[in-house]
Protein backbone atom coordinates (compact mmCIF):
# COMPACT_ATOMS: atom_id res chain seq x y z
CA UNK A 1 0.00 0.00 0.00
CA UNK A 2 1.23 3.43 -0.84
CA UNK A 3 1.13 6.20 1.69
CA UNK A 4 -1.48 8.50 0.18
CA UNK A 5 -0.95 11.37 2.62
CA UNK A 6 2.59 11.87 1.41
CA UNK A 7 1.54 12.35 -2.16
CA UNK A 8 -1.06 15.09 -1.78
CA UNK A 9 -0.34 17.81 -4.31
CA UNK A 10 2.77 16.10 -5.52
CA UNK A 11 2.50 15.31 -9.20
CA UNK A 12 2.42 11.62 -9.98
CA UNK A 13 4.49 10.39 -12.90
CA UNK A 14 3.95 7.06 -14.64
CA UNK A 15 7.26 5.58 -15.74
CA UNK A 16 6.64 2.99 -18.45
CA UNK A 17 8.24 -0.35 -17.64
CA UNK A 18 9.57 -2.46 -20.50
CA UNK A 19 10.65 -5.14 -18.07
CA UNK A 20 14.33 -4.80 -19.03
CA UNK A 21 16.10 -1.71 -18.14
CA UNK A 22 17.47 0.08 -15.20
CA UNK A 23 14.77 2.51 -14.13
CA UNK A 24 16.48 3.12 -10.81
CA UNK A 25 18.10 6.36 -11.93
CA UNK A 26 14.96 7.67 -13.65
CA UNK A 27 13.11 7.03 -10.40
CA UNK A 28 15.77 8.80 -8.33
CA UNK A 29 15.84 11.77 -10.69
CA UNK A 30 12.04 12.09 -10.28
CA UNK A 31 12.41 11.98 -6.50
CA UNK A 32 15.11 14.62 -6.60
CA UNK A 33 12.81 16.82 -8.69
CA UNK A 34 9.93 16.39 -6.21
CA UNK A 35 7.81 14.04 -8.29
CA UNK A 36 6.00 10.93 -7.09
CA UNK A 37 6.34 8.05 -9.48
CA UNK A 38 5.05 4.64 -10.31
CA UNK A 39 6.84 2.17 -12.54
CA UNK A 40 4.12 0.49 -14.52
CA UNK A 41 2.86 -0.99 -17.77
CA UNK A 42 -0.77 -0.85 -16.65
CA UNK A 43 -2.74 1.57 -18.79
CA UNK A 44 -5.19 2.33 -15.99
CA UNK A 45 -2.33 3.59 -13.84
CA UNK A 46 -0.99 5.65 -16.71
CA UNK A 47 -4.41 7.13 -17.49
CA UNK A 48 -4.74 8.62 -14.02
CA UNK A 49 -1.19 9.99 -13.81
CA UNK A 50 -0.30 13.67 -14.11
CA UNK A 51 2.66 13.06 -16.37
CA UNK A 52 4.40 10.25 -18.16
CA UNK A 53 7.94 9.15 -18.89
CA UNK A 54 8.75 6.76 -21.70
CA UNK A 55 12.29 5.53 -21.06
CA UNK A 56 13.69 2.60 -22.95
CA UNK A 57 16.70 0.47 -23.60
CA UNK A 58 16.99 -2.38 -26.05
CA UNK A 59 15.82 -2.68 -29.62
CA UNK A 60 13.15 -0.55 -31.33
CA UNK A 61 11.10 -3.42 -32.76
CA UNK A 62 10.94 -5.33 -29.50
CA UNK A 63 10.04 -2.21 -27.56
CA UNK A 64 7.15 -1.45 -29.92
CA UNK A 65 5.98 -5.06 -29.62
CA UNK A 66 6.06 -4.79 -25.83
CA UNK A 67 4.10 -1.53 -25.90
CA UNK A 68 1.53 -3.03 -28.27
CA UNK A 69 1.13 -6.20 -26.21
CA UNK A 70 0.11 -4.05 -23.24
CA UNK A 71 -2.14 -1.83 -25.34
CA UNK A 72 0.14 1.09 -24.61
CA UNK A 73 0.50 2.62 -28.08
CA UNK A 74 -3.03 4.00 -28.12
CA UNK A 75 -2.73 4.74 -24.40
CA UNK A 76 0.35 6.91 -25.10
CA UNK A 77 -1.38 8.71 -27.99
CA UNK A 78 -4.45 9.38 -25.81
CA UNK A 79 -2.23 10.59 -22.99
CA UNK A 80 -0.39 13.00 -25.27
CA UNK A 81 -3.69 14.19 -26.76
CA UNK A 82 -4.93 15.00 -23.24
CA UNK A 83 -2.25 17.71 -23.01
CA UNK A 84 -0.41 16.27 -20.02
CA UNK A 85 3.38 16.42 -19.82
CA UNK A 86 5.21 13.65 -21.62
CA UNK A 87 8.96 12.96 -21.50
CA UNK A 88 10.75 10.47 -23.74
CA UNK A 89 14.29 9.31 -23.00
CA UNK A 90 16.76 7.61 -25.33
CA UNK A 91 14.83 4.84 -27.12
CA UNK A 92 11.74 6.57 -25.72
CA UNK A 93 12.51 9.50 -28.02
CA UNK A 94 13.07 7.29 -31.05
CA UNK A 95 9.79 5.43 -30.44
CA UNK A 96 7.89 8.69 -30.94
CA UNK A 97 9.00 8.85 -34.57
CA UNK A 98 7.12 7.34 -37.53
CA UNK A 99 9.59 4.54 -38.25
CA UNK A 100 12.99 3.02 -37.54
CA UNK A 101 15.39 0.95 -39.59
CA UNK A 102 16.87 -0.89 -36.59
CA UNK A 103 16.99 -4.60 -37.53
CA UNK A 104 14.58 -4.22 -40.42
CA UNK A 105 11.88 -1.61 -40.75
CA UNK A 106 9.55 -0.92 -37.84
CA UNK A 107 6.65 1.41 -37.39
CA UNK A 108 6.89 3.75 -34.42
CA UNK A 109 4.27 5.58 -32.36
CA UNK A 110 4.37 8.28 -35.03
CA UNK A 111 3.62 11.36 -32.93
CA UNK A 112 6.59 13.09 -34.55
CA UNK A 113 7.02 12.71 -38.27
CA UNK A 114 10.46 11.34 -39.12
CA UNK A 115 12.64 8.28 -39.08
CA UNK A 116 15.40 6.62 -37.06
CA UNK A 117 18.69 5.56 -38.68
CA UNK A 118 22.03 4.09 -37.57
CA UNK A 119 25.33 5.92 -37.19
CA UNK A 120 27.86 5.12 -39.85
CA UNK A 121 30.95 3.21 -38.69
CA UNK A 122 33.10 5.28 -41.01
CA UNK A 123 33.55 9.03 -41.28
CA UNK A 124 35.63 9.22 -44.43
CA UNK A 125 38.61 7.04 -43.51
CA UNK A 126 38.17 7.44 -39.79
CA UNK A 127 36.70 4.64 -37.66
CA UNK A 128 33.66 5.80 -35.68
CA UNK A 129 32.81 3.84 -32.52
CA UNK A 130 29.18 2.74 -32.47
CA UNK A 131 27.38 2.78 -30.07
CA UNK A 132 28.24 6.28 -29.04
CA UNK A 133 28.84 5.87 -25.32
CA UNK A 134 29.80 8.91 -23.31
CA UNK A 135 29.44 12.64 -22.87
CA UNK A 136 28.67 14.94 -25.73
CA UNK A 137 27.46 18.49 -26.15
CA UNK A 138 23.98 19.73 -26.97
CA UNK A 139 23.51 22.90 -28.99
CA UNK A 140 20.43 25.05 -29.45
CA UNK A 141 21.15 25.95 -33.08
CA UNK A 142 18.93 28.96 -32.94
CA UNK A 143 16.12 27.40 -30.87
CA UNK A 144 15.12 29.46 -27.84
CA UNK A 145 15.57 27.20 -24.83
CA UNK A 146 14.19 29.74 -22.33
CA UNK A 147 10.61 28.62 -22.90
CA UNK A 148 11.48 24.92 -22.85
CA UNK A 149 12.68 22.28 -20.39
CA UNK A 150 16.23 23.26 -21.33
CA UNK A 151 15.75 26.65 -19.69
CA UNK A 152 18.97 27.56 -17.85
CA UNK A 153 21.05 24.84 -19.52
CA UNK A 154 24.11 26.39 -21.16
CA UNK A 155 24.29 26.11 -24.94
CA UNK A 156 26.93 23.41 -25.51
CA UNK A 157 26.34 21.65 -22.16
CA UNK A 158 27.61 18.08 -21.86
CA UNK A 159 25.05 15.29 -21.51
CA UNK A 160 25.46 11.50 -21.32
CA UNK A 161 24.60 9.49 -24.44
CA UNK A 162 24.33 5.76 -25.17
CA UNK A 163 22.99 4.92 -28.61
CA UNK A 164 23.66 3.52 -32.06
CA UNK A 165 20.62 5.04 -33.79
CA UNK A 166 19.38 8.60 -34.03
CA UNK A 167 16.18 10.34 -35.09
CA UNK A 168 15.70 12.60 -38.09
CA UNK A 169 12.51 14.63 -37.61
CA UNK A 170 10.99 15.81 -40.89
CA UNK A 171 9.93 19.15 -39.46
CA UNK A 172 12.89 21.21 -38.18
CA UNK A 173 10.52 22.99 -35.79
CA UNK A 174 10.43 19.78 -33.73
CA UNK A 175 14.20 19.87 -33.19
CA UNK A 176 15.06 21.15 -29.70
CA UNK A 177 18.78 20.40 -29.62
CA UNK A 178 21.49 19.05 -31.89
CA UNK A 179 24.73 17.14 -31.25
CA UNK A 180 27.78 16.23 -33.34
CA UNK A 181 29.01 12.66 -33.65
CA UNK A 182 30.88 10.65 -36.24
CA UNK A 183 31.15 13.61 -38.56
CA UNK A 184 27.49 14.50 -38.58
CA UNK A 185 25.18 16.84 -36.75
CA UNK A 186 22.03 15.09 -35.59
CA UNK A 187 18.94 15.79 -33.52
CA UNK A 188 19.48 15.04 -29.81
CA UNK A 189 16.26 16.52 -28.46
CA UNK A 190 12.74 17.06 -29.78
CA UNK A 191 9.73 18.99 -28.61
CA UNK A 192 6.22 19.22 -29.94
CA UNK A 193 3.26 20.53 -27.95
CA UNK A 194 3.33 18.88 -24.52
CA UNK A 195 5.93 16.31 -25.57
CA UNK A 196 9.66 16.63 -24.97
CA UNK A 197 12.16 13.88 -25.61
CA UNK A 198 15.92 13.49 -25.43
CA UNK A 199 18.34 11.07 -27.01
CA UNK A 200 20.66 11.51 -24.03
CA UNK A 201 20.00 10.46 -20.44
CA UNK A 202 19.31 13.52 -18.27
CA UNK A 203 19.21 11.25 -15.20
CA UNK A 204 22.83 10.23 -15.91
CA UNK A 205 24.05 13.69 -16.86
CA UNK A 206 25.02 15.08 -13.47
CA UNK A 207 23.80 18.42 -12.19
CA UNK A 208 22.75 19.80 -15.59
CA UNK A 209 20.73 16.68 -16.33
CA UNK A 210 18.90 16.86 -13.02
CA UNK A 211 18.07 20.48 -13.80
CA UNK A 212 16.09 19.24 -16.83
CA UNK A 213 14.01 17.04 -14.52
CA UNK A 214 13.50 19.98 -12.17
CA UNK A 215 12.36 22.17 -15.06
CA UNK A 216 10.00 19.46 -16.21
CA UNK A 217 8.58 19.02 -12.69
CA UNK A 218 8.00 22.77 -12.40
CA UNK A 219 6.12 22.71 -15.65
CA UNK A 220 3.89 19.85 -14.45
CA UNK A 221 3.10 21.69 -11.21
CA UNK A 222 2.14 24.85 -13.10
CA UNK A 223 -0.02 22.80 -15.40
CA UNK A 224 -1.81 21.22 -12.42
CA UNK A 225 -2.39 24.58 -10.77
CA UNK A 226 -3.87 25.97 -13.96
CA UNK A 227 -6.54 23.25 -14.06
Amino acid sequence: MQDMTASINRPKVAIVDFGLGNLFSVKLACETAGLDHEITNDRRVIERSDAMILPGVGAFGEAMATLESHGLVTCIMDFIASGRAFLGICLGMQLLMSESEEFGRHKGIGFIDGRVVRFNNLNGEELVKVPQIGWNRIFSEGQRWEETHLNGIPDGAYMYFVHSYYAIPSDPRNVLSVTDYGGRRYCSGVSKDNVTAFQFHPEKSGVQGIKIYTNWALNIKRQMEAI
Binding site: L20, G21, N22, F24, S25, L28, A29, T32, V57, G58, A59, N121, N123, L127, V128, K129, V130, P131, I133, G134, W135, N136, R137, Y158, Y160, V162, H163, S164, D180, Y181, G182, G183, H201, E203, K204, S205, G206, V207, G209, I210
Partner: protein, 283 residues
Protein backbone atom coordinates in the same frame (compact mmCIF):
# COMPACT_ATOMS: atom_id res chain seq x y z
CA UNK B 1 35.96 15.70 -35.38
CA UNK B 2 37.85 14.63 -32.23
CA UNK B 3 36.21 12.19 -29.89
CA UNK B 4 35.29 13.15 -26.35
CA UNK B 5 37.02 10.81 -23.89
CA UNK B 6 35.75 9.67 -20.53
CA UNK B 7 37.77 9.56 -17.33
CA UNK B 8 36.38 6.85 -15.09
CA UNK B 9 37.44 6.20 -11.50
CA UNK B 10 37.66 2.48 -10.90
CA UNK B 11 36.88 1.37 -7.37
CA UNK B 12 37.83 -2.15 -6.36
CA UNK B 13 35.64 -3.42 -3.55
CA UNK B 14 36.21 -6.06 -0.94
CA UNK B 15 33.29 -6.42 1.46
CA UNK B 16 32.44 -2.89 2.63
CA UNK B 17 35.85 -1.45 1.73
CA UNK B 18 37.61 0.21 -1.15
CA UNK B 19 40.86 -1.69 -1.75
CA UNK B 20 43.79 -1.44 -4.12
CA UNK B 21 46.37 -4.02 -5.07
CA UNK B 22 49.23 -4.44 -7.50
CA UNK B 23 48.68 -6.79 -10.44
CA UNK B 24 45.26 -7.27 -8.78
CA UNK B 25 46.95 -8.87 -5.73
CA UNK B 26 48.10 -7.78 -2.26
CA UNK B 27 45.03 -5.71 -1.44
CA UNK B 28 45.27 -2.68 0.80
CA UNK B 29 42.26 -1.09 2.40
CA UNK B 30 41.81 2.56 1.41
CA UNK B 31 38.47 3.53 2.92
CA UNK B 32 34.76 3.68 2.30
CA UNK B 33 33.94 3.38 -1.39
CA UNK B 34 30.89 5.66 -1.24
CA UNK B 35 32.94 8.60 0.05
CA UNK B 36 35.42 8.20 -2.77
CA UNK B 37 32.63 7.86 -5.34
CA UNK B 38 30.85 10.98 -4.07
CA UNK B 39 34.08 12.94 -4.16
CA UNK B 40 34.76 11.81 -7.73
CA UNK B 41 31.23 12.64 -8.86
CA UNK B 42 31.51 16.13 -7.41
CA UNK B 43 34.85 16.64 -9.12
CA UNK B 44 33.95 15.69 -12.65
CA UNK B 45 34.08 11.88 -12.93
CA UNK B 46 32.37 10.81 -16.15
CA UNK B 47 31.30 7.42 -14.82
CA UNK B 48 32.10 5.11 -11.90
CA UNK B 49 33.26 1.49 -12.13
CA UNK B 50 32.87 -0.82 -9.14
CA UNK B 51 34.63 -4.17 -9.27
CA UNK B 52 34.02 -6.72 -6.55
CA UNK B 53 37.53 -8.17 -6.47
CA UNK B 54 36.74 -11.05 -4.18
CA UNK B 55 33.33 -11.74 -5.63
CA UNK B 56 32.32 -13.70 -2.60
CA UNK B 57 28.69 -14.70 -2.64
CA UNK B 58 28.51 -14.04 1.09
CA UNK B 59 29.38 -10.39 0.66
CA UNK B 60 27.01 -9.65 -2.20
CA UNK B 61 24.67 -7.62 -0.07
CA UNK B 62 27.32 -5.14 0.91
CA UNK B 63 28.12 -4.58 -2.77
CA UNK B 64 24.44 -3.96 -3.54
CA UNK B 65 24.24 -1.48 -0.68
CA UNK B 66 27.29 0.34 -2.00
CA UNK B 67 25.77 0.53 -5.50
CA UNK B 68 22.41 1.79 -4.25
CA UNK B 69 23.94 4.41 -1.98
CA UNK B 70 26.18 5.64 -4.77
CA UNK B 71 23.34 5.77 -7.31
CA UNK B 72 21.39 8.01 -4.93
CA UNK B 73 24.15 10.59 -4.80
CA UNK B 74 25.90 10.36 -8.14
CA UNK B 75 23.87 11.00 -11.28
CA UNK B 76 26.39 9.45 -13.63
CA UNK B 77 26.57 5.92 -15.05
CA UNK B 78 27.74 3.15 -12.73
CA UNK B 79 29.27 -0.07 -14.03
CA UNK B 80 29.44 -3.08 -11.73
CA UNK B 81 31.55 -6.19 -12.21
CA UNK B 82 33.10 -9.08 -10.36
CA UNK B 83 31.45 -12.41 -9.77
CA UNK B 84 28.34 -11.89 -11.92
CA UNK B 85 27.62 -15.37 -13.22
CA UNK B 86 24.04 -15.49 -14.46
CA UNK B 87 21.36 -13.36 -16.06
CA UNK B 88 19.66 -13.08 -12.71
CA UNK B 89 22.91 -11.80 -11.11
CA UNK B 90 22.95 -9.13 -13.82
CA UNK B 91 19.32 -8.23 -13.23
CA UNK B 92 19.98 -7.87 -9.50
CA UNK B 93 22.94 -5.56 -10.07
CA UNK B 94 20.81 -3.40 -12.39
CA UNK B 95 17.98 -3.34 -9.87
CA UNK B 96 20.39 -2.18 -7.19
CA UNK B 97 21.20 0.84 -9.36
CA UNK B 98 23.94 -0.24 -11.78
CA UNK B 99 23.62 1.03 -15.35
CA UNK B 100 26.02 -1.48 -16.86
CA UNK B 101 27.60 -4.74 -15.81
CA UNK B 102 31.00 -6.09 -16.73
CA UNK B 103 31.53 -9.79 -17.38
CA UNK B 104 34.81 -11.68 -17.45
CA UNK B 105 34.82 -15.22 -16.05
CA UNK B 106 31.17 -15.89 -16.88
CA UNK B 107 31.72 -14.85 -20.51
CA UNK B 108 34.90 -16.93 -20.87
CA UNK B 109 33.09 -19.99 -19.53
CA UNK B 110 30.00 -19.42 -21.63
CA UNK B 111 30.37 -16.79 -24.37
CA UNK B 112 26.68 -17.07 -25.21
CA UNK B 113 25.80 -15.32 -21.96
CA UNK B 114 27.06 -12.14 -23.65
CA UNK B 115 24.52 -12.58 -26.45
CA UNK B 116 21.68 -13.47 -24.09
CA UNK B 117 22.46 -10.59 -21.76
CA UNK B 118 22.77 -8.12 -24.64
CA UNK B 119 19.42 -9.25 -26.00
CA UNK B 120 17.75 -9.08 -22.62
CA UNK B 121 19.23 -5.86 -21.23
CA UNK B 122 20.52 -4.09 -24.33
CA UNK B 123 24.05 -4.15 -25.76
CA UNK B 124 25.03 -0.92 -24.10
CA UNK B 125 24.41 -2.49 -20.69
CA UNK B 126 26.92 -5.29 -21.26
CA UNK B 127 30.63 -4.57 -20.87
CA UNK B 128 33.10 -7.33 -21.62
CA UNK B 129 36.02 -7.19 -19.21
CA UNK B 130 39.29 -8.52 -20.62
CA UNK B 131 42.14 -8.92 -18.15
CA UNK B 132 45.18 -9.45 -20.33
CA UNK B 133 48.73 -10.66 -19.77
CA UNK B 134 51.45 -10.34 -22.38
CA UNK B 135 53.18 -13.63 -23.15
CA UNK B 136 56.86 -13.84 -24.06
CA UNK B 137 56.02 -14.24 -27.75
CA UNK B 138 54.32 -10.82 -27.66
CA UNK B 139 50.77 -12.14 -27.84
CA UNK B 140 48.17 -11.09 -25.26
CA UNK B 141 45.94 -13.60 -23.54
CA UNK B 142 42.81 -13.18 -21.45
CA UNK B 143 42.89 -14.33 -17.83
CA UNK B 144 40.30 -14.76 -15.14
CA UNK B 145 40.36 -14.77 -11.32
CA UNK B 146 42.54 -11.67 -10.96
CA UNK B 147 45.09 -12.93 -13.44
CA UNK B 148 45.51 -16.36 -11.89
CA UNK B 149 43.61 -18.48 -14.40
CA UNK B 150 44.74 -18.76 -18.01
CA UNK B 151 41.71 -18.86 -20.31
CA UNK B 152 43.48 -19.95 -23.48
CA UNK B 153 41.72 -17.09 -25.32
CA UNK B 154 43.84 -14.65 -27.21
CA UNK B 155 42.73 -11.15 -26.20
CA UNK B 156 42.38 -9.88 -29.79
CA UNK B 157 40.19 -12.75 -31.01
CA UNK B 158 38.15 -12.65 -27.81
CA UNK B 159 37.48 -8.92 -28.19
CA UNK B 160 36.25 -9.42 -31.76
CA UNK B 161 34.09 -12.35 -30.74
CA UNK B 162 32.56 -10.35 -27.89
CA UNK B 163 31.66 -7.55 -30.27
CA UNK B 164 29.91 -10.06 -32.55
CA UNK B 165 28.06 -11.48 -29.57
CA UNK B 166 26.70 -8.04 -28.76
CA UNK B 167 28.91 -6.57 -26.04
CA UNK B 168 28.54 -2.78 -26.06
CA UNK B 169 31.94 -1.91 -24.69
CA UNK B 170 35.24 -3.47 -23.62
CA UNK B 171 36.96 -2.84 -20.31
CA UNK B 172 40.56 -3.74 -21.08
CA UNK B 173 42.89 -4.23 -18.11
CA UNK B 174 46.58 -4.91 -18.43
CA UNK B 175 47.41 -7.13 -15.48
CA UNK B 176 51.11 -6.60 -16.14
CA UNK B 177 50.71 -2.89 -15.52
CA UNK B 178 47.83 -2.87 -13.04
CA UNK B 179 48.69 -0.99 -9.84
CA UNK B 180 52.31 -0.38 -10.87
CA UNK B 181 52.14 3.21 -12.07
CA UNK B 182 54.44 2.23 -14.93
CA UNK B 183 52.08 3.58 -17.60
CA UNK B 184 49.37 1.89 -19.64
CA UNK B 185 50.12 -0.93 -22.04
CA UNK B 186 49.69 1.23 -25.11
CA UNK B 187 50.39 -1.56 -27.58
CA UNK B 188 47.65 -3.73 -26.07
CA UNK B 189 45.14 -0.88 -25.98
CA UNK B 190 45.78 0.14 -29.57
CA UNK B 191 45.68 -3.46 -30.77
CA UNK B 192 42.19 -3.99 -29.34
CA UNK B 193 40.77 -0.52 -29.93
CA UNK B 194 41.60 -0.58 -33.63
CA UNK B 195 40.23 -4.10 -34.04
CA UNK B 196 36.70 -3.45 -32.79
CA UNK B 197 34.12 -0.77 -33.52
CA UNK B 198 32.78 -0.64 -29.95
CA UNK B 199 34.39 1.66 -27.36
CA UNK B 200 37.42 0.42 -25.42
CA UNK B 201 38.11 1.54 -21.85
CA UNK B 202 41.83 1.31 -21.04
CA UNK B 203 42.71 0.25 -17.52
CA UNK B 204 45.83 -0.58 -15.55
CA UNK B 205 49.08 1.27 -15.10
CA UNK B 206 48.32 4.98 -14.83
CA UNK B 207 51.18 6.70 -13.03
CA UNK B 208 49.94 10.22 -13.68
CA UNK B 209 48.09 12.52 -16.09
CA UNK B 210 50.66 12.16 -18.91
CA UNK B 211 50.16 8.39 -19.06
CA UNK B 212 46.44 9.01 -19.47
CA UNK B 213 47.04 11.39 -22.36
CA UNK B 214 49.36 8.85 -23.99
CA UNK B 215 46.91 5.96 -23.89
CA UNK B 216 44.31 8.19 -25.53
CA UNK B 217 46.47 9.63 -28.30
CA UNK B 218 48.75 6.65 -28.97
CA UNK B 219 46.68 3.80 -27.58
CA UNK B 220 43.41 5.05 -29.17
CA UNK B 221 41.48 4.47 -25.96
CA UNK B 222 37.91 5.78 -25.97
CA UNK B 223 37.85 6.05 -22.20
CA UNK B 224 40.31 5.56 -19.37
CA UNK B 225 39.72 3.86 -16.03
CA UNK B 226 42.03 4.90 -13.20
CA UNK B 227 42.38 3.98 -9.56
CA UNK B 228 45.59 4.65 -7.61
CA UNK B 229 46.31 8.09 -9.09
CA UNK B 230 42.91 9.35 -7.92
CA UNK B 231 42.57 7.37 -4.71
CA UNK B 232 45.91 8.53 -3.31
CA UNK B 233 45.19 12.13 -4.22
CA UNK B 234 41.88 11.95 -2.37
CA UNK B 235 43.54 10.33 0.65
CA UNK B 236 46.25 13.04 0.67
CA UNK B 237 43.68 15.79 0.75
CA UNK B 238 40.88 14.29 2.76
CA UNK B 239 43.12 13.69 5.75
CA UNK B 240 41.52 10.33 6.35
CA UNK B 241 44.42 8.31 7.61
CA UNK B 242 42.34 6.76 10.35
CA UNK B 243 38.96 6.41 8.72
CA UNK B 244 36.22 5.32 11.04
CA UNK B 245 34.80 1.88 10.62
CA UNK B 246 37.32 0.52 8.16
CA UNK B 247 38.61 -2.95 8.84
CA UNK B 248 41.23 -5.12 7.21
CA UNK B 249 44.75 -4.32 6.10
CA UNK B 250 44.83 -0.65 7.07
CA UNK B 251 48.54 -0.46 7.89
CA UNK B 252 49.15 1.23 4.59
CA UNK B 253 46.71 4.04 5.32
CA UNK B 254 48.28 4.71 8.70
CA UNK B 255 51.79 4.64 7.30
CA UNK B 256 51.09 7.84 5.34
CA UNK B 257 53.06 6.46 2.41
CA UNK B 258 52.10 6.70 -1.18
CA UNK B 259 53.66 5.08 -4.13
CA UNK B 260 56.70 6.85 -5.40
CA UNK B 261 55.91 5.89 -8.99
CA UNK B 262 52.42 7.32 -8.85
CA UNK B 263 51.75 11.02 -9.21
CA UNK B 264 48.69 11.66 -7.07
CA UNK B 265 46.34 13.76 -9.19
CA UNK B 266 42.73 14.87 -9.03
CA UNK B 267 40.22 14.66 -11.87
CA UNK B 268 40.34 18.37 -12.63
CA UNK B 269 44.13 18.31 -12.86
CA UNK B 270 43.98 15.32 -15.21
CA UNK B 271 41.28 16.85 -17.40
CA UNK B 272 43.13 20.16 -17.46
CA UNK B 273 46.23 18.44 -18.78
CA UNK B 274 44.22 16.55 -21.40
CA UNK B 275 42.57 19.77 -22.55
CA UNK B 276 45.97 21.45 -22.87
CA UNK B 277 46.98 18.63 -25.21
CA UNK B 278 43.91 19.12 -27.35
CA UNK B 279 42.05 16.08 -26.00
CA UNK B 280 38.39 16.90 -25.42
CA UNK B 281 36.66 15.77 -22.24
CA UNK B 282 33.80 17.10 -20.15
CA UNK B 283 35.01 19.81 -17.82
Amino acid sequence: MPKIVRIIPRLDIKGPNLVKGIHLEGLRVLGRPESFARHYYENGADEIIYIDVVASLYERNSLKDIISRTAREAFIPITVGGGLRTLSDIREALRAGADKVSLNTAAIRNPLIVREAARMFGSSTIVLSIEAIRHSDGRYFAYTDNGREFSGQEALAWARRAEELGAGEILLTSIDREGTGAGFDIELTRLISEAVSIPVVACGGAGGPCDIADVITEGKADAVAIASVLHYEYIDNANMREPAGVEGNTEFLKSNKGFSKIKHSGLMEIKGLLASKGIECRI
